[in-house]
């Protein structure tokens, strides 16, 4: 199976060739593809502190799974399709692949996708913060499992 970075490279390539409007349309497609939380996670959301407080948008993240199969579960408010689409892209690349790969996700993915110019500096920083949060979450998850 391909690594997380290989899958991300494919996704980045899909975005890179599109014009600005097409990039946003593809991002919205990903946002629509992020599944709603299962009943189990809905229940956990009520009792666990999973809100990403740094985000203005309501974002809830779980970084878990086994060493061989990472699992990123997320809920993002419907009024934030950019964040939702971006989290869906990360989940696509991460889920079912080795946790150890997560740390290698490159920080310049937004530039390579060409999304940095479409979204502007402040929004790009916000999304980068989510990447950092996901990486940190999996690093903590891996060290707790050890």
């Amino acid at each position: 199976m391909e690594s997380i970075q290989q899958r991300l490279d494919e996704l980045i390539g899909e975005f890179a060739d599109l014009d600005a409007r097409e990039k946003l349309e593809l991002l919205v497609d990903f946002a629509h593809g992020l599944p709603p939380l299962s009943a189990e996670y809905e229940a956990r959301k009520a009792v666990e502190d999973r809100r990403v407080h740094e985000c203005q948008t309501a974002v809830f993240l779980w970084t878990e799974g086994t060493a061989d199969a990472a699992r990123l579960v997320a809920e993002v408010a419907a009024e934030a399709p950019t964040v939702k689409g971006f989290v869906a892209i990360l989940a696509d690349a991460i889920n079912g692949r080795p946790v150890a790969d997560v740390a290698a996700i490159s920080d310049d993915m937004l530039e390579r996708m060409g999304l940095a110019d479409v979204l502007g500096i402040l929004r790009t920083r916000g999304l980068r913060a989510i990447v950092a949060r996901v990486k940190r979450g999996f690093a903590n998850h891996a060290s707790a499992a050890r």
Partner: protein, 300 residues
């Protein structure tokens, strides 16, 4: 019941629905999350994005006059077009775009009261169609300095003890909300507020459905309770001048303040400046408070 001083600047979703194909009207969406426009916008509306379209990408400033003319031309906006702004989050970015249009002297600007939320609540239709118009001819005015405050002016204004309004959250105002790991958006080195500024968080201007509060409620808030004066020069600020554009709109057009400016540099500039005064905590502080105390005043 008192009405707004300029009620004609607000239009309803119904008015917009009736003017979708009116060639003298251009509907403009401006959002916090620009993918919202892509996901579904008011039919015939164009998008103007605050970060990509209205900001100079090199210097920290708005686009210049020539770029503004190009922006309008590309969206088929002429000097006599009635431009109606709407967006997400209680229209805060819509007011930001409105303000930039006023900065360059556009005459006929309106805000669709309630923005995306009200359009949705009214059960109106969204479109994913790409919208484009033939290019128009547009001539912008020089920037209108009467609505924009730059740092040095804010400093003078502050020292003189004139009306200052901080529209951020109480946590930001008090200087508590500075620890934001992984989220450098709030990239100011110091927390707090400009001494003398009173805190009216921007959501207090709006109802739950995104519309503006009534004239009576707004008058109570600013004029009765805070004793602000319509004729006194007033400066509003927030983090980057976005939330304060909404408050600027409320003060200038709904309440009829004669001289109100938006400090777009806002906290991201002030909180990083060397030797500007800062107050912490819930009290405004400032020249008036300092004059009555034995502690030395802060000099910038």
């Amino acid at each position: 019941m008192p009405d707004y001083v300029h009620p004609e600047l607000l239009v309803s979703t119904e008015w917009v629905a009736e003017h979708l194909s009116d060639p003298t009207v251009r509907i403009v969406e401006s959002d916090e999350d620009r993918a919202l426009y892509t996901q579904g916008h008011i039919p015939s509306a164009v998008e103007i994005d605050w970060a990509v379209d209205l900001q100079n990408q090199t210097e920290r400033d708005y686009i210049d006059r020539a770029a503004f003319e190009k922006l309008c031309s590309e969206r088929g906006i002429s000097n006599d077009t009635t431009v109606v702004f709407y967006g997400d989050k209680n229209n805060w970015w819509a007011c930001y775009a409105f303000w930039v249009f006023k900065l360059y002297g556009h005459t006929n600007c309106r805000v669709m009261n309630g923005g995306r939320k009200r359009w949705e609540l009214d059960g109106r239709q969204w479109s994913t169609e790409r919208v484009s118009y033939p290019h128009s001819h547009y001539t912008a005015q020089e920037q209108d300095g009467s609505i924009r405050a730059l740092r040095d002016e804010v400093l003078k204004h502050q020292k003189a003890g004139k009306q200052l309004l901080d529209v951020r959250s109480p946590e930001e105002y008090r200087g508590e909300r500075m620890h934001m790991p992984d989220y450098p958006n709030e990239g100011a080195i110091r927390g707090g507020h400009i001494p003398g500024a009173v805190n009216v968080p921007w959501p207090m201007n709006c109802n739950d459905d995104g519309t503006f509060k009534s004239a009576k409620e707004l008058e109570k808030l600013y004029i009765k309770d805070l004793k602000m004066k319509r004729r006194s020069p007033t400066i509003a600020y927030c983090r980057i001048g976005e939330r304060s554009s909404l408050t600027w709109f409320v003060l200038r057009y709904l309440l009829g303040f004669g001289n109100v400016k938006n400090y777009d540099g806002s906290w991201l500039e002030w909180g990083n400046c060397v030797r500007v005064p800062i107050a912490k905590g819930a009290e405004p502080g400032g020249p008036a408070a300092a004059a009555g105390s034995s502690s030395p005043a802060v000099h910038a």
